[in-house]
Amino acid sequence: MARINLTVDGQKVADDVEPRMLLVHYLREKLGKTGTVVGCDTSNCGACTVHLNGRSVKSCNVLAVQADGGEVTTIEGLAGEDGQLHKVQEAFRECHGLQCGFCTPGMIMQTVDLLNENPSPSEEAIRLGLEGNLCRCTGYHNIVRAVQHAAGTATGTTEGASA
């Protein structure tokens, strides 16, 4: 067992874990943060995307011990303390950027990272930026629209960004 200390969604946590434990399993099974899901389990689909030290990573492809000392943000840490949705969450709801919803936590976490780096991405930049996130319902159009909505770059029928 190895001792790890990290900050997850603003809370300090410490645990003894097996070195082979994946970060996603630590989040789900030790901390009960089941908002982060396991999709493909092969590091392709991006459903398990969280932020580690401010950057998006696939948490099925990081060992919990590698995250020791770090700061993790999951989908459960995005909303404000008063329950106010993050503007990207709001945009996915507004534009219905989901079908079955399984990929949504990862899509939202990757979108937040994308907009941190490029606040006004083109449609092409959005599609490239979400390259590591798969939607098996193939609901990509509304996902892209939701990102544009969150960025305030939406055109067409949706109104400007609400955030």
């Binding site: 070195p19 590091s43 492809n61 990081v62």
Partner: protein
Amino acid sequence: MIPAAFEYVAPTSVEEALAALAEHGDDAKVIAGGQSLLPVLRMRLNAPEWVIDLGRIDSLRGVRDGGDHLVIGAMTTHHDVGQDPLVHEHALLVSKAITHLADAQVRHRGTFGGALAHADPAGDLGAPARALGATFVVQGPGGTREVPADDFFVDLFETAISDDEILTEVRVPKHTGWGASYEKFVRIAHQWPIVAVAAAVRLDGDTIAEARVGLTNMGSTPLRAAAVEQALVGQPATEEGVAAAAALAAEGTNPPSDLNGDADYRRHLATVLTRRAVLSAAGRS
């Protein structure tokens, strides 16, 4: 899927890492960013008794100016290399290849040295490293040695790094002012390249003065297309001028056949992508 159980150590210096390697030898795997190793461990294609994590060794991270070359620390993430202004200015081909490498999340974790040491012939960094004539610096119990790119890649997933050594840095000769392009052919997003071509050219007016060309997934290691490089010298940077040289791209290669394409298809792709990459590097497309 969960990896088989292993013991874990995260040294904070190269010396500590080498000591751990010496102690655990054949039973150990070195993990860099882990973006290739962790899927392998999860699928239990490998089950080391020890995992030695280089992620806590700060001295292995960062890009610096080494005079006539850039020094890229082995543990610098793809994202950080790709965003680095020095790399953009002096080794544009590396920046271009990184924009095509995997996806944003993998680029945040995966490392420049880790990917090269993994030596996947379909990896996107080997061809640029060979094309630009990089030097690989490896450290072991006997000290440090330098391995030229032409000797670094030995076979499929096999490099000149010995079991008791680690890759510490990659020195990339400056190609300041050279144009560059990485043409990667995939059928779907987020796929390994079926074939990719890395090209850098230095123009003298409208004429190609020098060229460097590397090939991805055209054999068991990344390759350098020396015949193309030589044939390009003195040619006008036009479709016609480049075509004859590009036609030599598959010469002497032994590409794999798989579900994505047979060897002949890859040979054809190599010539087409070389033409496109050279023209694009010359700013002509």
